[in-house]
């Protein structure tokens, strides 16, 4: 039995549904020693802003049971340096999706314009869900009107597919999903990290300098799965599932509840070849389950 791993995200055709999650895969090149980047479904790079950002002061990561908190604060080299120094080194064969961060609608639009012109950028991911920055970020993602307005503004100036990444730190994620779909989002990805904190009783201090951080890793998988399931039931655009994925079984779970593809984040830290191994293991698992292509699997959960 041969297995077809291809999936589509709007006009973007992927050779398999395995993408790296932003902020956990660097600019992609960091992982080149551990596997062939050409085999990945797509590479989503660290959140990029117009100007370089230093991020939050350390300590900015802490391990928690089956997960971790981070408060990196979107440290990045800025769009100019990214386009000059990183993008050209990434393989042609793998779609590169740029995760975007800005503090205002105008900045988002300007950044989107610049990235839209870069030939090698396959799509844009709008990060309206970062919990670790004071301005922008999750503020856009917690208000359906703002989220829609921003999506519309970006869509107006770009021709590449736009994926909007949602925050789980909201009362009703479906509402935000519907708002960005209505505003023209081509794809919706979820979830970003869940707000959290950790304290050190011996020093009477928060473990993170920023006090709060975002929780990720296997610990958040059940929460993510539920939200992906809920959103898939109400929107008709493709959905990309994110949250605690580390095994092929997890990939199949997210797709069964309706995701067209997935992003693997924190699991890249458990071993740097995680994604490359998933690419190899996925067809084997599908064969075992008798799945010939994802058409017969995506959203086919029997409730």
């Amino acid at each position: 039995m041969s297995v077809d791993l291809r999936v589509n995200l709007s006009s973007l055709n992927l050779k398999n549904p395995l993408l790296s999650a932003s902020g956990t895969f660097g600019y992609g090149l960091e992982f080149a020693p551990y596997g062939d980047l050409k085999t990945l479904g797509g590479i989503i790079v660290k959140g990029i802003s117009l100007k370089p950002r230093e991020g939050n002061p350390p300590p900015r990561i802490v391990e928690t049971p089956c997960g971790m908190l981070n408060a990196i604060g979107l440290q990045n080299i800025g769009v100019e340096k990214f386009l000059e120094e990183k993008l050209p080194l990434l393989p042609e064969e793998t779609p590169v999706i740029v995760n975007m961060y800005a503090q205002s609608g105008e900045e988002f639009v300007e950044l989107a314009r610049i990235l839209d012109k870069a030939e090698k950028v396959a799509a844009l991911e709008l990060n309206i869900s970062c919990p670790n920055v004071k301005k922008g970020g999750v503020l856009f993602g917690q208000n359906p009107l703002l989220a829609a307005e921003l999506t519309r503004a970006v869509k107006k100036v770009v021709s590449k597919p736009v994926m909007v990444k949602l925050s789980p730190n909201v009362t009703d994620i479906k509402e935000i999903a519907l708002a960005v779909e209505e505003a023209g989002a081509d794809v919706i990805s979820l979830i970003n990290t869940l707000g959290g904190m950790a304290v050190d009783i011996y020093r009477r201090k928060p473990c993170l300098k920023n006090v709060f951080g975002g929780l990720s890793g296997p610990a958040i998988k059940p929460v993510a799965l539920k939200m992906v399931y809920e959103v898939c039931r109400v929107v008709s655009v493709p959905v990309v599932g994110i949250g605690g994925i580390s095994k092929v079984e997890d990939v199949l779970e997210f797709m069964l509840v309706g995701a067209s593809a997935v992003q693997v984040g924190t699991a890249n830290f458990m071993r740097p070849d995680t994604l490359f191994r998933l690419v190899e293991e996925l067809p084997l698992k599908m064969k075992k389950l008798g799945i010939k292509s994802f058409q017969e699997w995506i959203g086919k959960l029997e409730v």
Binding site: E30, P57, N70, I72
Partner: protein, 254 residues
């Protein structure tokens, strides 16, 4: 920029050798057939760890030859306790050698505090002229628990134990004197706990010595991707795992 040949490997545990009555142990793994520079480290994650601990743990390469990869570690928390429980034949996922080690130095003064001795074991073994090395070791546990004998007697080595605040102050004074005396004569390398490094850093900067410090920052990925391990340098916040762990003293803001 892309480092070739650094695969993620599953290495078999050859031996775990605890030092009786102490919180330290040696871990011997199948060797990696890769060259390394002393000061470089590896990330280790036993296959038995499913989701908790989640992250791998970073350790300096204490020795790496055709027979084994040696790690010298102290049991401090969950992860290191689990390392201690490994049995021969267990598999450990390992990636490395990672980061920037100590630069080549014909002559060097090596300053180590406690477990900071680990990378200097390899450095002393590899150095073509161990008689040109000088080593000062400050430690809290009895000297016998450390691999002190693995350092050739050709190295001009001195150990000094600190069990009280007073002894710590005396050692600080000794560090100050050694650094000022050695400044201008060769490179000075240091590895140890943060308070030790802070003291060393201060004297290195004051004496304008050619100093290098190895940092132990909390790490998740070890490959420069998560940006969790950053250190403050003159170039801003940079990854300790790829730009370090060994940094030029004058570059660092501790």
């Amino acid at each position: 920029m892309i480092q070739e040949g650094l695969l993620c490997k599953e290495l078999e545990v050859l031996e775990v050798r605890p030092i009786p009555g102490s919180p330290v142990a040696h871990l011997f793994l199948e060797p990696l057939n890769l060259p390394f520079t002393p000061g470089q480290f590896v990330m280790l994650r036993p296959k038995l760890w499913e989701y908790d601990p989640l992250w791998p743990r970073p350790f300096s390469i204490c020795d790496l030859n055709s027979e084994y990869l040696q790690i010298f570690f102290q049991v401090v928390g969950k992860g290191t306790n689990l390392l201690l429980a490994l049995r021969p034949g267990d598999k450990v996922t390992c990636w490395g050698p990672l980061g920037q080690g100590f630069p080549v130095a014909d002559r060097a003064l090596l300053l180590c505090g406690g477990m900071g001795i680990a990378p200097f074991i390899a450095l002393c073994k590899q150095h073509p002229h161990p008689e040109r090395l000088k080593l000062l070791f400050g430690h809290r546990l009895p000297l016998e628990v450390y691999p002190w004998q693995d350092i050739s007697d050709k190295v001009e080595k001195r150990a000094s134990r600190q069990e009280s605040e007073e002894e710590l102050l005396l050692f600080e004074e000794e560090l100050r004197e050694s650094i000022w005396q050695y400044a201008g004569k060769g490179k000075i390398f240091a590895c140890g706990p943060h308070p030790f490094l802070k003291v060393v850093h201060k004297y290195l900067v004051e004496s304008k010595a050619q100093g290098y410090l190895s940092l132990e920052n909390r790490m998740a990925c070890g490959v420069g991707a998560c940006l969790g391990c950053v250190a403050r340098t003159r170039q801003g916040l940079v990854q300790t795992c790829t730009k370090g762990p060994v940094f030029k003293a004058e570059e660092l803001e501790l």
